[in-house]
Symmetry: none
Subunit: 199 residues, 4 copies
Amino acid sequence: MAEDRPLRADARRNRALLLQVAKTAFASDGLSVPLDEIARRAGVGPGTLYRHFPTKEALFEAVVHERLRQLVDDARALRSADDAGAALLGFIDRLVAEAAAKRDLVDALAGADIDITTTVAATAADLRSEIGHLLVRAQRCNTIRSDIGIADLMAIVSGILSAVQPRFNDRADPERVLAVLHDGLQATPRDRGGRDQRE
Amino acid sequence: MAEDRPLRADARRNRALLLQVAKTAFASDGLSVPLDEIARRAGVGPGTLYRHFPTKEALFEAVVHERLRQLVDDARALRSADDAGAALLGFIDRLVAEAAAKRDLVDALAGADIDITTTVAATAADLRSEIGHLLVRAQRCNTIRSDIGIADLMAIVSGILSAVQPRFNDRADPERVLAVLHDGLQATPRDRGGRDQRE
Amino acid sequence: MAEDRPLRADARRNRALLLQVAKTAFASDGLSVPLDEIARRAGVGPGTLYRHFPTKEALFEAVVHERLRQLVDDARALRSADDAGAALLGFIDRLVAEAAAKRDLVDALAGADIDITTTVAATAADLRSEIGHLLVRAQRCNTIRSDIGIADLMAIVSGILSAVQPRFNDRADPERVLAVLHDGLQATPRDRGGRDQRE
Amino acid sequence: MAEDRPLRADARRNRALLLQVAKTAFASDGLSVPLDEIARRAGVGPGTLYRHFPTKEALFEAVVHERLRQLVDDARALRSADDAGAALLGFIDRLVAEAAAKRDLVDALAGADIDITTTVAATAADLRSEIGHLLVRAQRCNTIRSDIGIADLMAIVSGILSAVQPRFNDRADPERVLAVLHDGLQATPRDRGGRDQRE
DNA sequence: GATGAATGAGCATTCATTCAT
DNA sequence: AATGAATGAATGCTCATTCAT
């Protein structure tokens, strides 16, 4: 069961610190932030950064990966929720609220110019799968419109997430944006009576 | 007193060519494309590029500016449309369709890491204003929900635009995404009867 | 016949200067000399060096290539020599004399740790071919022993060249080393009477 | 007053292991092999390597030193050989055969870019001295030409050694190379009758 | 003694910008 | 005006060496 090396205490601390610093740095300055800068902010030499993350891409991936893993855990916890529709919308609401406050999530979901490798892709697929579960259940109980798939939902949500980012958005109100999203996603209009409501 | 002379014919041609090439290059490779590469593709020396656009930022702004001006013109043409709601939604549909096909628009609207300066901001404000006109008219004739403002709409639309980009989106169907957006934006549910529809 | 771009006068001057400086630098300090150092010695920025030679390997290859080309020319001039044996030995003598004075030749022939690419390999093959001509002719007129091939000769000569390098050699006398080489190469002993001379 | 304590058993084992690994590593990859790599191959931490060999240069020197000591021992064993000429030539033949098979010897003798310090120099001088003995004796019994000195011989031999290295030599036949060397070194031609043999 | 994490100077390479031709 | 060569600061990465555990 060789646990991938237990890492010394100081090394683990540094690794976590670097991840944290990198997350913040990427979030505020984008991918263009120099690695030396991240190392400096973490108070370590560039070589230490290199020891933990052998390329810039690896560091970015680690940041994204960790974020995705949190989301997967959160989504998984909702599997057993009574009201699937509420669970899904609540999950999305929380994502949006967080994205409106900070700035890392979007890069995590959108991917920038760096190739996301298999490892991260697997976790991303996990997230998609978990949200897919919620979606299907919510569609079954007629809360969410049944004509969209998980790919559509992921695209819409990640779009909304970037829309509410503080960087690009001075005045939009996340609450109102969410209201539009909720209404667009809900099952009622088309599922109850088709598109005739516009008459 | 540089009196903004009308430029020699070849100079004007070069400027237009560079803008075109830069637009394509930024669209396909992002902002990281080297200026030398753009100059090469346009068949001119980097010095020539520099003569027309003194910094990379200036070039990018010019590209964005031109794109925005086109959009402003398009939106303005809809001022006199009979059906303001249809005009607005149609305009958005076209934006989405284009974004789903190419890749420049989002960078133009989202702005990446480069600061958009006053010049471009003015045109961006024009666009916002034109779309705002359409929004207000569509809200007055009860086609678009009245609880959102232009800032909300711009945010949502630019989010959706990035969502349907070919780069980040393999499987989402622009049509279904638009269906959600339409339903989310439409006036009916809440304006006709408030939120009681879910009962 | 697009002549590979005629290059501007200053560019050609810089290219030649860089080659010259690099040759000297590699010769005296080996491949480990930093490119910045070469650029500095040439009085140009590292970017200029990069413009002419996009990688360190390319620069090294260019240096080697040029040297080899000179040798090929020199060897080719001997094709029509009356006395092939004297021509060959004279050519080798000159190589040894130069190697004993400077230090680039050996790296040129020995190749260090950098992979020599096709271009240089072709010129190296040319050199081998030219020397091979001289060898065969010298063997035909019974001046050089007939039991060795061009590969053997090249190995021996390049070995001798490194042997007389000032770097590794404080006290060996190039003249005496050459005497050994001459006697070892000459046809007489074995070709006249085989190995019975040792009796 | 570090009194050169006899070292703990495991320390001695580690030292020997590191030397062995370093020899192989330098031989196959040259001096550019990272110390971390050597430590890894030996299964120890870089700190351990450092304890035994305080600098890279020290490690390299130790490797060379050991190799030279072996050679000195081998050469010394030939002091009492009956036929000094055969002993010398046989010794050289063995060196060449080994160099043609592996790749460490030449670096050991040639020295690359690292300065060989006094310690190694002393052993190298020992080797030179031992071979010098053989040379003088062989010259006295008229087997080896008398016009060359030990410096000449060392240079020639080390040159030949690099010539037959597998790295630089695809097709040269060590046997034929040795034949040339033997004929070049033998006493006969000039010592018996001067240079008149060419008539 | 051993370990392996940390250090940080140093390197090859890139590219926005400037300027001689 | 155009050209394209030159500039040089900046960046990602390496690795010999040091030091805390």
